[in-house]
């Protein structure tokens, strides 16, 4: 009664790189410092960004940071599946940590928060996927 083992998302698993250089390279020193704080917290305290395959990392980064952005901007997060609920759980903790540790983020206009979080997502995609030296990210099987 084992479930169907055929891989349904092979195209997604054979992904192309999105970033070919560090998206922070042209950012201002202030933005780099802000992103540095936010990124450092994730790297030291979270595990979700390190799923073993690149396609999973891309989804995790976008899902969790996307929802964190919504929470930081006091927007409602729509959860339609258990997988999205899992993103929401991690996003909720990240939102709380950011508000507590980096109060300056709550003083920023919402549009700036969104832009900053988008850049953080790009930076995380760069360090953990496209710029990563991990040779196993492109293996198509678990």
């Amino acid at each position: 009664m084992a479930a169907n083992r055929k891989i349904k998302n092979m195209a997604e698993r054979k992904y192309e790189k999105v970033y070919t250089s560090d998206p922070l390279a042209s950012a201002s020193p202030e933005t780099r410092e802000q992103i540095g704080h936010l990124e450092n917290y994730i790297m030291k305290n979270c595990l979700w960004q390190f799923n073993s395959r690149g396609w999973d990392r891309r989804k995790q980064n976008a899902g969790i940071l996307g929802q964190t952005t919504q929470l930081l901007c006091d927007e409602e997060v729509a959860i339609t599946s258990p997988l999205e609920k899992c993103y929401w759980v991690d996003a909720t903790l990240l939102n709380r940590a950011y508000r507590e540790r980096f109060p300056w983020i709550m003083e920023m206009p919402k549009e700036d928060v969104k832009a900053l979080m988008q850049l953080l997502n790009a930076r995380l995609d760069w360090t953990t996927i496209d710029g990563s030296l991990n040779l196993e990210l492109t293996v198509v099987n678990y």
């Binding site: 009664m1 390190f50 258990p82 997988l83 903790l93 990563s132 991990n134 678990y142």
Partner: protein, 524 residues
């Protein structure tokens, strides 16, 4: 790339890419050693084999099972004396170990008959145990013994038994990690979905990548039960064979050791839509955040908060007692795989020590990504080190203590560096709030051991202070501490008992009213 070349490994130039020192401004795009590759000829690796990874790490912690190695008796070496994955059924899986005792004649004439005879004998010897796992070894895999066919034959003859076959001979991967992978995939392919479990709660998890080292699983299970969560199965410490056949009915996979068990979580997500939530059971903040996350997922965060508040109030002052005395001590995190990243940041934050090196014997680059990210600048990260590299690193870094396995640990002692067993623990469990304090206590005891201080003196050349009497750890650790620490009415040494686990087995838990159907039949 900030590679570090060991003097002792200059004759093996390929080794250079397996060690890095994290420099200022380095990140994962510039600082990551190679990993999970075949061992380089000439380097004496300390890795285990793929059979060991499948059987001794993941398979054997299952508690209600006869575990048979199909191969030479020596392959069953790792048992009671080296493994500490205890269970609440009187440690059946540790006390009894089975091998088919394959010899030269079987290599020539085949060992399938021998395997069948052993299976029948084992079931007769333990008539109450109806579940079995069989592990191929190098010898029987090479001669082509068909363990699956024999298992099918026996299951036809003995319809009340169920057998799982794991084809992960020793040569089946660069290290034990190859075996972790094979048994993960084999279990979900062969067994998950073959039994419908009883659901007793609205909140149901599989606890994955947890091996109940000295009771870790039972400590975490206590928290889950206090939250009203049903632990449907544990993969695999203190886990039941039949519970693990029903993994497909959980609402959430809570993953502890991603190194050894992420594969089955990812497959459960892919095949059954069960999400994967990675957690850290070590350290106050990571553990508290982990319980919060699980609570949030099920909408019962207040139950998690109550546990966090109670446990923190009780154990934080004791953790801080040790933190004050461990501040600035240099440690090497040299475990097998996941603990290097579980511990790398939190041990610095909550115990005040400095991690000067991380290494992994069988970890992949993914583990090093986590480890390198979580430790500070200047840390030396080594993949699959050999003994000489370990010694050279100790000489270079001069750590106060290292956390590693038995073999490198004993080697470290010889050069005057105390070690704690990172795999099987010294006086665990180390998970949970109390467990983290027990770990701090063990570190303190190792660093300030008076006998260790004495052992470092070389009577052939060192001056031996004849006028000095007996010293205690407190005399060594408290010398330069301020009064508010040494006389604090709040901080105290560990107050727990020698055995912090057995009492959990007799505990009763609150019943939480259910809102969903009682059984799957009701749900249908």
């Amino acid at each position: 790339m900030p590679y570090h070349e060991f003097e002792c490994s200059k004759v093996i130039p390929e080794r250079k890419e397996h060690a890095v020192i994290k420099g200022e401004g380095e990140d994962l795009t510039s600082c990551l050693p190679k990993g999970y590759l075949n061992t380089i000829p000439g380097t004496i690796s300390e890795r285990g084999c793929a059979y060991c990874g499948a059987k001794h790490v993941i398979g054997t912690p299952m508690k209600d099972v006869i575990h048979i190695s199909h191969g030479p008796v020596g392959c069953t070496y790792d048992t009671w004396q080296t493994k500490r994955y205890i269970s609440d059924n009187d440690n059946f899986q540790l006390k009894y170990t089975f091998a088919t005792d394959v010899k030269e004649k079987h290599i020539v004439f085949g060992a399938e008959k021998l395997l069948k005879q052993n299976i029948i004998e084992a079931f007769k010897a333990f008539p109450d145990t109806k579940r079995m796992t069989i592990y191929q070894t190098c010898a029987t895999a090479l001669i082509g013994d068909d363990a699956n066919a024999i298992a099918e034959e026996v299951m036809e003859e003995l319809p009340d038994v169920d057998i799982f076959v794991c084809n992960s001979p020793g040569f089946g991967g660069p290290s034990q990690s190859g075996g972790h992978h094979k048994i993960n995939i084999a279990w979900i392919n062969q067994k998950v979905g073959t039994l419908e479990p009883e659901i007793t709660s609205d909140h149901v998890i599989n606890y994955v990548g947890e091996y109940n080292i000295q009771g870790d699983q039972e400590v975490m299970q206590d928290y889950f039960k206090r939250m009203g969560i049903q632990v449907l199965s544990t993969f695999t410490g203190n886990g039941s064979y039949d519970d693990l056949r029903g993994m497909h009915r959980a609402h959430l996979n809570v993953l502890e050791c991603a190194r050894s068990a992420e594969y089955i979580c990812d497959e459960l997500r892919d095949r059954y839509g069960i999400p994967r939530l990675d957690i850290d059971g070590f350290g106050f903040k990571p553990l508290a955040d982990s319980l919060r996350k699980i609570g949030l997922f099920f909408g019962i965060e207040e139950r998690a908060e109550q546990i966090i508040a109670e446990e923190t109030a009780k154990w934080r002052p004791q953790l801080d007692w040790y933190k004050a005395r461990l501040e600035g001590k240099k440690v090497c995190l040299w475990p097998g795989g996941s603990k290097l990243w579980h511990w790398a940041n939190v041990i610095q934050e909550e115990m005040g020590v400095k991690v000067v090196s991380v290494y992994t014997k069988f970890g992949h680059q993914g583990d090093m990504e986590k480890g390198v990210s979580r430790c500070g600048e200047g840390a030396l990260a080594i993949d699959d080190p050999n003994e000489l590299e370990g010694l050279e690193a100790l000489d270079m870094l001069k750590p106060d203590v290292i956390f590693t396995g038995k073999r490198p640990g004993e080697m470290a002692k010889k050069v005057g560096v105390p070690y704690l067993n990172a795999h099987a623990y010294h006086n665990g469990p180390y998970k949970g709030f109390e467990g983290w304090v027990r770990f701090a206590r063990d570190i303190y005891n190792a660093v300030y051991s008076p006998i260790h201080q004495l052992a470092l003196r070389d009577i052939s050349k060192d001056e031996i202070p004849a006028g000095q009497g007996f010293v205690t750890r407190r005399m060594l650790s408290d010398t330069n501490l301020p009064d508010e620490i040494t006389s604090s009415p709040v901080l105290s040494e560990y107050t727990g008992t020698y055995d912090s686990v057995s009492a959990l087995r007799k505990k009763t838990y609150p019943e939480f009213p259910r809102t969903s159907a009682t059984t799957l039949k009701d749900a249908a």
